[in-house]
Symmetry: C2
Subunit: 230 residues, 2 copies
């Protein structure tokens, strides 16, 4: 990316910012995987670990916000550098919300682990994998200012929507079959919905990356909701 600020201090600031964002991203990616593993392996200790570890994600959010503000105040960046920093300020919020969603999944997993499993979990871990990859790719696209990678994330989101819809409909049929399934199926529905929303956060990040690099806003021509399920 061409930069109007070539001094070393500014480059060091940007490197620091990118590293912190990647560190925060790595944490929330691990929390997505662990929260769903807590469900599939019925491991409530792991669920509790995800819930506790969210503090660190929150701490990183505050720290990255401060870093962005410090860079704005000291370096007064312009043009593409300014877009980079303002985009980072927004991305950090998406990462923090992804962390909250992983906590929410972990809480549901703890409840579900108290009862016998409704069914073998196959599609939910697949959806978690996809969501986690989307977060990783979107963040990689940001730190490398890579539009092609960001556009791949936007394209891939459809697969998450389709898989979510499949899970939703399957759980609905379990509920119809036997009212004893309703409570557990509802909890699983919300877990799937949380994973689909994590995918939406990745999409938001990817859209912001395209804007940051191109200077053209593509955030809104496409709809975020392709599914017909709630």
């Amino acid at each position: 990316m061409p930069s109007t600020h070539t001094d070393k201090a500014f480059e060091a600031d940007l490197r620091d910012l990118r590293e912190k964002l990647l560190a925060m991203g790595a944490k929330v990616e691990a929390h997505i995987a662990d929260s769903v593993r807590a469900l599939t392996e019925r491991d409530s200790t792991l669920a509790e670990r995800v819930i506790q570890a969210d503090k660190e994600v929150n701490r990183l959010e505050v720290e990255i916000d401060e870093t962005c503000r410090r860079i704005l105040a000291l370096r007064q960046p312009a043009a593409s550098d300014l877009r980079l920093i303002t985009t980072a300020l927004k991305i950090v919020t998406d990462l923090e919300r992804i962390g909250d969603l992983a906590v929410n999944i972990a809480e549901r997993a703890k409840d579900l682990n108290e009862a016998p499993p409704l069914k073998p979990y196959v599609d939910t871990p697949r959806l978690a994998d996809l969501a986690q990859q989307q977060v990783k790719k979107a963040l990689d696209a940001f730190v490398s200012s890579d539009v092609a990678k960001a556009e791949a994330v936007l394209k891939e989101d459809e697969h998450l929507d389709v898989l979510y819809l499949k899970i939703f409909n399957e759980l609905l049929s379990y509920m119809m079959e036997d009212s004893k399934n309703i409570r557990r199926a509802t909890a699983l529905m919300f877990i799937a919905k949380h994973l689909e929303r994590i995918g939406d956060h990745a999409t938001n990040v990817a859209e912001m990356v395209v804007y940051m690099v191109r200077g053209t806003d593509i955030r809104h021509p496409r709809s975020r909701n392709l599914t017909t399920a709630p």
Copy 2:
């Protein structure tokens, strides 16, 4: 709020920014109310209007982002002014997501209007009212830099969580009672969840206002999820 920038151009910029944010806020507040009215009055034309009007919300998001970046580039604000602009950049994202949630509710309303109503809707419009008021108060707290108002929003969030839980449990019992209720009750559950999330967005805004004014981050000591429902 004490300002290090006293020149008139800067004040005019800030006034412009506040006005745009309030205009965007007024729009999303109306969309929350209309999306739920589309459900309670079985008015799918109104639902469609909410869906179409979201374009304007999205346009305002892009415009406000640009305004913030222009102020940062031209005025190079420091200290509390810098916090004001960086907070506005984050708040606008919350407002846009609230708009998306209203669209999602409107889409569910359209589907639900195709079938006979499950039950008279009493608590859902109440939850919508509370959520809408929370958004309004949080945004007022921002434009007037009013910490007391922001703290009132944080305190009030508990009432939304309690009401959401009540709706959730009632819908669960409808589902248990008769499997013919399941599909509609699930859709209503997601509508209630969306309203509760709108309340969470208002809470996010309020937390940012406290930080903006006090310079102390209170975003993370309290948990966002007090409910035990998914």
